[in-house]
Each structure stands twice: as C-alpha cells, then as structure tokens.
Symmetry: C2
Subunit: 342 residues, 2 copies
DNA sequence: ATGAAAGCGCTAACAG
DNA sequence: CTGTTAGCGCTTTCAT
C-alpha cells in the first residue's frame, strides 16, 4: 500500500527522530518549546532539524490538534481603502502565526450567480477556518454567508458595518462615522459656509446613514440627495444647478467627490473658489486631484488590525464574551478643496 | 486520552458511515465520485452527508494524500493593477478548487527587516503549498525567496517579469511591453510629434527596459530620463524646462504620467494642447485625470488567470516541461491626453 | 461492490 | 525527562 507519488517528500519529525536518536514524540515536544527537556536533547533535535531543512506541517498540526489557525477573510480588492484593511489584517495575523485565507465572491462586478458565491464560503469551511472577517460592503448574499458561519458557531468579525441578525453575535470594527461627519460640518461652519449640499450613500448602509444623520444634526443642508449611486453624474448636475447659491458640498465618499469635481468643471464652478468640497475615506486618488481633496481619514489599516486581533481573541477561547463594537478615531485631512468665504 | 476541547466538532466521514450503515471507506469512495459503487449506496451516503451538514476536511485530505491544493501567491496590494492580477489568480484558482494563499512581506513600504520577510515564505512552506506565484516588483529579497521555493523543487510562476537564475526554471507571464511601447511611438508619429521625452523606469526592471528600448527603436527622443523614481518631480521639471520644444511625453507608468500632469500645470503647459502625454498600465485613476489619460492597457486580470493556469498545470504533474514565457497582448487606449499637432 | 488494514504527519494522555 | 500508546480525518491498497 501507499504508492501514489506525493507532490514532494519533505522531512518529517520521523526523520529528525532517527537522525537525533530520540523518539518521534520527543521531537514533537521540542518543536513546541520543549518545556522541561534536557538542553542537550533539545539541541540535538534542533541540529538534526536544521540539517534536514525541516519545516513543520501546519496541515497535520491543525488536523491533529483540532485547533485551526486559519482565518477566513472576505474583503475583495475594490480600492485603496480595501487594500489598507487587508494589509492590517494580513500583518496582524501573520505576526501571530495565523493564516489569512483571502477569498471573495468571484466576478464581483459582473452579475454573480449565487452558486459561485457560496462556493467561496464552502472553500473556507473546508479549510476548517476557526473564524472569519467579513466586509459586507459588496456581498449580495451577506445574510446567507453570516448564517453559514454562525450556524457552525464560528466567530465572525465585521469591518465597516455592524450586524444585527437573529442568532448572530459578531464583533465589529467601524470608523467613527458620526464624529467624522460632524468634523466636516464644523469645518464648513468655521469657513463660513451656510448653503451646503450633501450627497449621501444609501440609507440602508450603516456608514452612509450615520454620516448623513450626524451631518444633518450639525448643519442645515439645502438638500440631501440620498443614494445617488445609480445615476451619479445626472443627479449631481441637476442638484447643483437647482441650488446655484451652494458654496459647499459634502460627498459621502471620495468617489462621489471625484465626480463632483468633474461636474463642477462642466458647470464652470471652480474648486475651492466657487465651491468647497469634502469627501470621506481618504482614498489614494484624493491627494492627486486638482486641488487635492479635503477628506476624512479613517484609518483602514488599523481597522484591519483591530478586526484581526478581535478574531484571534475569540479563537483563543473567548467565544462567550459579549459582542463588541469598536469605533476607531477619525481625522479630518484639510487639503486644498475647501476655502473660507468670510 | 484525547481530552483537549477542539475548536469545533464537525461531522466526519465516520458519522456518515454510521448513519448510512456502510464502512468509513465506502464514504470516502463516494466523496470522490464513487466510481463503480451501487447507485443505492451512493444515494444513501449522500443523503446522510446532507443531513449532517457534512463538509470535507481539506487539511486532512491534503495531509493524507500528499497532494497539495494550496498555491502561494505573493502579490502585495499596491494599486489597481495588482488588484486585477490578484482577481485573475483568485478566480481561476477557486474555480479549479485550488486555494490561493495570499501572503506578502509585511510593512512593505517601511524599512523591512529581512527576518520578517522570510517569515511569510516559511508560512507558505508550512502550509505545504504545491506551487507559488510571485510578483517580484517589490521584493527586496526576491532571489532568496525564489531559492527557498525552487530548492524544494516547487514550481514557480512569475508575473510581470521573467526570471533567469541558476537552477531556477520558472514560467512567467508578461504583458507585451515592447509592442505596447511601439504602439505609443506609432501613435505619436501619427499625431505628428517629433520632439518627445521619455521618462523611463529603472533599467534593472524588465518592464522598464523593454519599454524604453522598443520606444527608442521607433522614435528619436530628445532625451530619456532613466529611473526617475527617487526624485520624481524635480527631475521632470528640470527636464521639461531644458527642452521647451517638447510636444509629447511618454511616461513609463501611469504613476509617472500623473506627476507629469502636475508638473505641466506648474509650468503652465496645457495638456493636450501644449503637451501630449501617454502613460502605461491603465491604472484606475487614469480615466479621472483631467484630461483622461491615454495609456496602454495590459490585461492584468488575464495575466493573473494565465499565471494561475500555468501553476495548476505544473502542479498536476507537468513539472518537467520546459519553462514558458507567455506574452499577453496589449492595447493602446486613446483618451484625451494626446492630440495631433499637424 | 464493499470493507479491513495500514498509514500521512502530527499531538496529547500516560507510564516509567 | 523520555518514550509508549492512541488517535485526528482522511486515502489507498488489498482481500472478500
């Protein structure tokens, strides 16, 4: 029996044991710290391992111990914001010797069939992840995903949204959207702006609703256009034309703000002289716009790190704690797109 | 013995066997297609599996069979170009039921200590990847990485560069840089440009050298500035001022082109009226520049797919074939930053 | 057509 | 302190 040629033959603890003249078990002990073994034995084993170029087999370790070090990470490569979140997750996890399993719905931007989207979830399950970090922003089947995980009582951490669903208790990490929006409002006030438009995201999304509500608590807007995404340019143009007295625009994301630049140019309104513009998220293109975009930086890298540390905490046995919501501090980045009118 | 509480208790083939009233082995057979089993048995097993919510344990499968379905992928989240490559790799691999293991040097942009960079390589090895896809663009220790893999005779595919190193035979996937650069040259000629500057990348990088050489074969440049990255803006400014007769600039990447826009604005030269500009790579910000940037589209998504298909091919047993270099077609994207001067 | 036996590389209880 | 024993969940050979 045992014939099929394997992909490769790496040295195992068996070979080390033979070479060092100890039992297989002893090698195992040494590899995990070797508490209470004779220094001589430890050295012998390490030497043999070194000579053989030994690398532990994490698959086997995980199988045997029943302890997963795999963390499912479902955050698709959308833009620089995502990239920073992903880096935060990656850096924290690998530092702790956990393994991020980055998987997301394929063909995100095409019309996705549900079948394929669930496949990625199953792939994670089949890799026996011990927890999962989700960025629901995109996921058409978010509820189904969540259920798939929490029904197996896998810990879940969400980034950039909090989740309230029956039977699900997930931790979440968010930028402090309310404070960010208020900082924008305050900034406008200080600059003397009174005629302000807010282009908001869909109210169904936490980040969009929080920003809109907090902003409206601070200032009276001429108008607030909610969920402009389906027909971006036309709505912006119409709205701006309908309110020629507008001196300031708060765009719910930098992506919207970029379009405001374009539309403003078409309408012959100069930024910041005729129109002050503020975005949100500090996406990479913002500082290269002309003028550079004033925006709210909300620390996606740290969001990633925090999300990772939360999931690790759960995986290390604190599964029963109450779910937390972590709000990360934000920071207004004043650049060239806003100007005083007093 | 066997006490430590495992992370979770998923149903195994053992439970299925018990519930379906067959042997453990039979379940295993069914799970891999069940060739030559009675249909009745197959159905019984599937039913039991379904009822238990069974999911196969890939870790165990891989451990036992000695066949890895893990593919190391070392392409860090730099920009939209990378994101498309990553998506291509991800989509192809998951479709084939392979698992991409995205890992990259942490703290890429900080001063990285070698130690941490090798850690990620070791993590891949410890996961018993069966092959690896590398994007060397960033890696300070690229040679060491390659060696770590190829000394274990793991197949390697490089993206966006070809590798020539003793004892290493890696496949590679590249955009057709020479053809791309010539297309730019041809475009300039058709528009009547004769006084052209090329801002090139470092000659040590394949993509940069290929673009520069091919471009210079087609047109006479006023000047070619090589490897401007260390002091981007000053060099551009000086060069542009030293050659006031310049009517066209070919920037080796869109990133350079973006800076050309800024410098041109400072010098009071309007694009495209006074200066035609072409970039390379079709990064996401290009179409939002004012005017939208003419550039060369390179098909990073397909590069990713091809890289993935190459590595799968190797992993499925064609380890001995000669290394291939795959050149992907490119396409000039004419937008608003170039103009005829005849 | 199915099952028994053997074992991948590893861990964890226990004994000596 | 070290080695023995008994597995994790799975595959593969071989016997029935």
């Amino acid at each position: 029996m045992e014939t099929m040629e394997p992909t490769r033959k790496e040295p195992s603890q068996h070979e080390i044991a033979a070479r060092a003249g100890v039992a297989r078990t002893t090698v195992s002990l040494v590899m995990r710290g070797g508490a209470g073994l004779k220094q001589e034995t430890i050295d012998k084993v390490h030497k043999a391992a070194e000579e053989l170029g030994y690398r532990p087999n994490l698959m086997a370790t995980m199988t045997r111990s029943g302890k997963s070090r795999m963390v499912g990470v479902m955050v698709p490569p959308i833009d620089s914001y995502w990239a920073r979140i992903a880096c935060g997750i990656h850096d924290y996890l690998t530092e702790q010797k956990y393994i991020p399993l980055f998987l997301w719905p394929s063909h995100m931007f095409e019309d996705l069939d549900e079948h394929r989207e669930l496949d990625q979830v199953h792939l994670m399950l089949d890799c026996r992840i011990g927890g999962v970090i989700l960025w629901p922003y995109f996921a058409k089947m978010f509820e189904k995903h969540i259920h798939e995980f929490s029904s197996r009582s896998l810990p879940v951490v969400t980034v950039d949204c909090s989740i309230e669903q029956a039977g699900v208790n997930a931790d979440s990490v968010l930028g402090d959207n309310r404070t960010g929006a208020k900082a924008v409002a305050k900034h406008f006030k200080e600059l003397g702006h009174k005629n302000i438009i807010h282009f908001a995201g869909p109210d169904s999304e936490d980040w969009a609703r929080d920003r809109r509500e907090a902003f409206e608590e601070e200032v009276d807007c001429l108008t607030v256009e909610v969920d402009i995404r389906p027909r971006l340019d036309p709505i912006m143009k119409t709205t701006l034309e309908a309110h020629p007295e507008t001196t300031a625009v708060f765009a719910a994301t930098d992506v919207f703000a970029r379009d405001v630049y374009r539309v403003a140019a078409e309408l012959g309104r100069r930024i910041p002289d005729d129109l002050s513009v503020v975005g949100y998220s500090d996406l990479d293109f913002g500082e290269y716009l002309n003028p550079p975009l004033t925006t709210v930086h909300d620390n996606p890298y740290n969001m990633g790190k925090r999300a990772a540390s939360l999931i690790v905490h759960r995986m290390e046995g604190n599964a029963e704690d109450d779910p937390t919501v972590q709000l990360l501090p934000v920071q207004l980045l004043q650049r060239g797109s806003t100007k005083s009118i007093v």
